[in-house]
Point group: C2
């Protein structure tokens, strides 16, 4: 593979000059540029980013840790983050933590070794302390790790209000919230808070059920919903903490002979593309995923440049009325 030296030789200039045209620094006559570019083309030259990164001590790499790329929500997030990062001149190093503490810690180490310029955390199973030692631009999704690490989230409380209010307005008398384990650090918990508050205010019976630990292990939501229906046959509204959970709830309700939305109304959360693939489409509280993805990348870049950044980035949600509520 040709190096900058080969190009210099071929173009009859010094490596410094080649480097200059490569980075377009300082004055360079058109003629000179042409000559160098020509040599590059002839040799099929591709600058070695490893060497550049090493020498500049800047890799233009962003690490992204998510629980699982196979999850539709994270799939969309990844897709948008990658796209925007690429447009800003950054490459993406992707990691699936599978919500495993040890693996997540390893990944963080690995990313530091890789000298990424920053880390976007969509998964954060570790303790606050573990994150303080990263010493790198970081931004998290849906968790406030410390007051010097910016976070991005949707307006969870508002989302919970929208969903629950919709159920109430549609006349539900007994509603349930289904979600993952309510870890106190998770901002998604606010969806539940709002659910309770609205139900209370509207004088509606409400119950909450959740998984033990792994929020993203979907098969468990089937039995969970089934149990809900058996123990509370009079349930007529469900607020699921994600669209995937809503989909499972929808399925199980139907299998139990309930008409949706006739007997039971269901509202999801996230607004992933997949929602309109169901029949009827899922009614859901949509997060502006592309905007959030973009913000994540921007925050990494701004921190990298030493800029001061806001710590809270709460994005507005929107109720998308499908046919399940």
């Amino acid at each position: 593979m040709p190096t900058i030296k080969d190009v210099a030789l071929r173009a009859g200039v010094s490596v410094t000059t080649v480097s200059r045209v490569l980075n377009n620094r300082g004055y360079l006559s058109e003629e000179l540029k042409k000559k160098v570019y020509h040599a590059m083309d002839e040799l099929h030259y591709r600058p070695n980013e490893l060497a550049r990164s090493l020498s500049r001590s800047k890799s233009n790499l962003i690490g992204l840790i998510v629980p699982n790329a196979a999850n539709p929500f994270f799939g969309e997030l990844i897709s948008h983050i990658e796209e925007y990062a690429y447009n800003q001149g950054y490459r993406l190093l992707l990691c699936n933590s599978l919500l495993d503490r040890k693996k997540e810690a390893e990944y963080i180490d690995m990313l530091r070794s890789s000298r990424v310029d920053g880390i976007i955390l969509g998964s954060h199973t570790l303790e606050v302390e573990d994150y303080r030692h990263i010493h790198l631009p970081v931004v998290t999704f849906d968790r406030q790790i410390s007051d010097d690490i910016p976070y991005i989230s949707s307006d969870n409380y508002r989302g919970g209000e929208l969903a629950t209010t919709l159920l109430a307005d549609k006349g539900c008398r007994k509603i349930a919230h289904i979600g993952g384990h309510p870890h106190p650090d998770l901002l998604a918990l606010k969806r539940l808070d709002a659910f309770k508050a609205v139900a209370m205010k509207r004088g509606i019976a409400h119950i909450e059920i959740h998984t033990d630990v792994d929020v993203f292990h979907y098969p468990q939501y089937g039995p969970l919903t089934a149990r809900l229906l058996e123990e509370h046959p009079d349930i007529d509204g469900i607020f699921a903490s994600s669209d995937m959970i809503a989909a499972y709830a929808l399925k199980v309700c139907r299998e139990h002979g309930r008409k949706i939305p006739g007997d039971i109304r269901i509202v999801g959360y996230d607004g992933v593309k997949l929602t309109d693939l169901f029949s009827p489409s899922l009614t859901t509280v949509a997060q502006p995923i592309p905007d959030m993805a973009r913000r994540a990348v921007d925050l990494i870049i701004r921190q990298m440049q030493g800029g001061q950044v806001e710590m809270e980035h709460v994005f507005p949600v929107e109720l998308v009325e499908g046919g399940t509520a």
Copy 2:
């Protein structure tokens, strides 16, 4: 950030020695190792992978280009590839081509600049010629680019047979195949071939419809299916070329008042996790995604090591009977 030099100084040895314990090369007394490890710990030392990669001219990076990480099939693929690659000591550089020729070409250039050790192509919109110049271990999914680039696919023809035979066995009299644009290079075309062959043999009326270009632009499958139902109201079986397409077909059929599987039977392809999230679960031809992911990584590694590899890697498919057929 501490360097190997700092560690050497702190441990009272040379950098060579530190490098040796880092790579566990040659004989090293336990005592010496301890000393070095201790120094590393004290300094919170993390070897700089950029420097290592540069010096060894091996990055332990694998580039993965997919059409879109938000697509459930690719989401699962990415997830498995990442997991296996990581276990083998490789990191993943992810790219979304969005099926855009120019972008894909740019990504390939970028990955070469990044000195990835190999490229896994889940997206391949370019001409054969463009790929011959990569000069790097490559493996593709579902497309045979040339006879020296290994490819991975499911047994498309067999899958098409399974799906179509199922429809025939269930008594369908007029069936349709819905898929993306049938690009001749795409191995997925064999699903269609099998569909036609089986339908012919069983004496069943059959038609095929497909999108114009972008296979992964799902919204278009709605209208496409709607048109199908209007022009051929007597359709009683659909073989969709992916689970996502099947999901859209399911939805549209229902919206047109058809009972599934009573009036129309639907079979998908891929076997993504999402299939059992529908009610009823989608009947589909499942590909062994984890095995295929693993093979992709193995093939990159083996080629990298200069090993000779088979060119064809066709994986068995399995009919998964959900409730739509």
